[in-house]
């Protein structure tokens, strides 16, 4: 049974219609990416899911509960990380996390705090006030606040926006680890490369879902241009974006007929920079 079910969801702010009839569902235990440019309605959708805003039309069920009417039952089961840090800057990381932990009546809070501080690699700075933290560290404190009560589902609004490549990679390691523990993650992002890291992706534009699929299937909707240069002759051919299509195309240039699929896995600029940073850190 889906953990999120949305049908015909609409939300209007004055003259602006932020959500224009959104339908989709999310299965348990997956990393679900909500991808779209700024202003697409991603934050509005997440706020509707956590019960922070009341839609104008449509239905939302989260764990088969209504986020507005069943909010008190639902809030124990979800963790929410807003787009802004949403932390008390004068309090320490530990005090911030403990405040939200106490709100959920978290059992064995001190033990849980130590675990979560280790998990988010904040133990060394746990007692420092949050205003002394970098943007990336604040994101981790914010994530810890959302995780302290062991929710079944995490709703993260642009958790890696304005975060450096190293921390972004670590964050996705966190997310994958949490999904491995059976948690459902609903993550919004405007970074298209992050969509590839999700199990399923919904693309939102101007308040409407324009595609819902696995990242692989979405990639296959694209075309690959193969440019072959022989002597002074350059020929460009457009083929489907599948390893099989590339192998088929290369057969005419003498690729052995036994080869059924060819895939190029080129490092992105971000992963190259990340690898350089990691090598430098190893040296230090």
């Amino acid at each position: 049974m889906p953990v999120i079910e949305i049908a015909g969801l609409r939300k209007r702010y004055g003259k602006i219609e932020a959500l224009r009839g959104v339908d989709f569902s999310v299965e348990k235990g997956a990393i679900y990416g909500l991808v779209g440019p700024n202003g697409a309605g991603k934050s509005t959708l997440i706020k509707a899911l956590v019960g922070s805003l009341c839609p104008n039309a449509g239905t939302i069920r989260v764990f088969n509960l209504d986020p507005i009417h069943d909010r008190w039952s639902l809030r124990k089961r979800i963790g929410y990380m807003p787009q802004s840090a949403a932390l008390y800057e004068d309090l320490s990381a530990r005090e911030n996390i403990a405040f939200f932990g106490r709100a959920h009546h978290t059992l064995q809070l001190n033990k849980k705090l130590d675990e979560i501080l280790d998990f988010t690699e904040l133990r060394d700075r746990a007692n420092d006030p949050v205003h002394t933290f970098s943007g990336g560290m604040k994101k981790r404190v914010s994530l810890a606040c959302a995780l302290i009560h062991d929710p079944e589902m995490l709703l993260l609004d642009e958790p890696t926006a304005a975060v450096d490549p190293h921390l972004k990679a670590r964050s996705w390691d966190f997310f994958r680890e949490m999904a491995g523990r059976g948690m459902t993650l609903f993550i919004s992002t405007h970074l298209m490369d992050e969509a590839l890291l999700c199990d399923s992706v919904a693309i939102l534009r101007r308040g409407q879902m324009i595609a819902v699929d696995t990242p692989q299937h979405i990639l296959q909707r694209g075309k690959t241009r193969v440019v072959v240069q022989q002597g002074t002759q350059k020929q460009t051919t457009q083929i489907a974006s599948t390893p099989e299509a590339l192998a088929n195309h290369l057969h005419q240039y003498g690729l052995s007929p036994d080869v059924q699929a060819v895939a190029l896995q080129q490092d992105s600029l971000e992963s190259i920079i990340l690898s350089l940073v990691n090598k430098q850190e190893e040296k230090l």
């Binding site: 019960g51 922070s52 809030r75 124990k76 787009q83 709100a103």
Partner: protein, 245 residues
């Protein structure tokens, strides 16, 4: 109730951590009372200083308690922590009550320090019973002010939006309170308008104690109005604070 205590503890914790904010909250009224002393020292002999000093000290507490409480709650909204509190299971009643309890400590401290300085600087030689009688209306006024700050914060989306409420709610209250001129000399509508501000009733108690030697308990109707005012503001703040957009 547990959530109320959690919010109150958080507010007290924040105040203790932000020593600059705490110090300014206490020191700012003291500085103004000091300048008040310089001003009153220029007055001719026989000027009834005692008629003005304690009410003005009370008004300063009222002003600062309102401003600080409203600003901090608006900050909760603009930084996203208010939304996070709601999503974490805090009910709006718990948040408001937690803030009232947390800020009551600060307002009590402000009231005690401001009254203490006024008594010392102006050499007002009152009995302990009279001082307690003077403290209580200032303290009740501070509670009303915290409530008013919470109510106003529900209408403001940013810290800057709190400021227009000062000329709307705070400044007229002192002109219509009967302190600067007797309300009999005002148009009837202005006199009635003065009655909607809690400052009017707190000053009436203070004037009775200072000028006629009465005690706090002699003003039970004014006390009831100040307490009622706090309850009405608490109700209105609960009704206007939105937990869902």
């Amino acid at each position: 109730m547990t959530h109320t205590i959690i919010v109150a503890q958080k507010v007290v914790h924040q105040l203790r951590r932000d020593k600059r904010f705490l110090a300014l909250s206490i020191v700012a009224p003291l500085i103004i009372i000091f300048f008040l002393k310089l001003f009153f020292d220029t007055m001719a002999d026989g000027f009834p200083v005692e008629r003005y000093v304690v009410p003005i000290a009370g008004f300063l507490v009222y002003f600062f308690a309102f401003l600080l409480c409203a600003m901090v709650l608006v900050q909760e909204r603009s930084q996203g922590t208010l939304e996070r509190m709601f999503v974490s299971g805090f009910h709006k009643r718990s948040i408001i009550s937690g803030y009232v309890i947390g800020y009551l400590g600060l307002a009590t401290l402000q009231a005690a320090v401001a009254l203490g300085e006024a008594l010392l600087l102006f050499h007002l030689d009152y009995s302990a019973q009279t001082i307690l009688s003077l403290f209580l209306p200032i303290w009740l006024l501070a509670i009303d002010s915290v409530m008013l700050g919470i109510l106003v914060s529900t209408f403001a989306r940013s810290e800057a939006q709190v400021f227009p409420f000062i000329p709307l709610f705070i400044l007229p209250s002192i002109f219509l309170s009967g302190l600067l001129i007797d309300n009999d000399r005002l148009p009837v509508w202005a006199d009635w308008l003065g009655h909607i501000f809690p400052v009017y009733y707190a000053f009436d108690i203070i004037k009775g104690i200072v000028l006629r030697g009465e005690m706090f308990v002699d003003h039970w109707s004014n006390i009831a109005i100040l307490v009622g005012y706090a309850l009405v503001l608490l109700f209105l703040a609960s009704a206007t604070l939105k937990d869902v957009e």
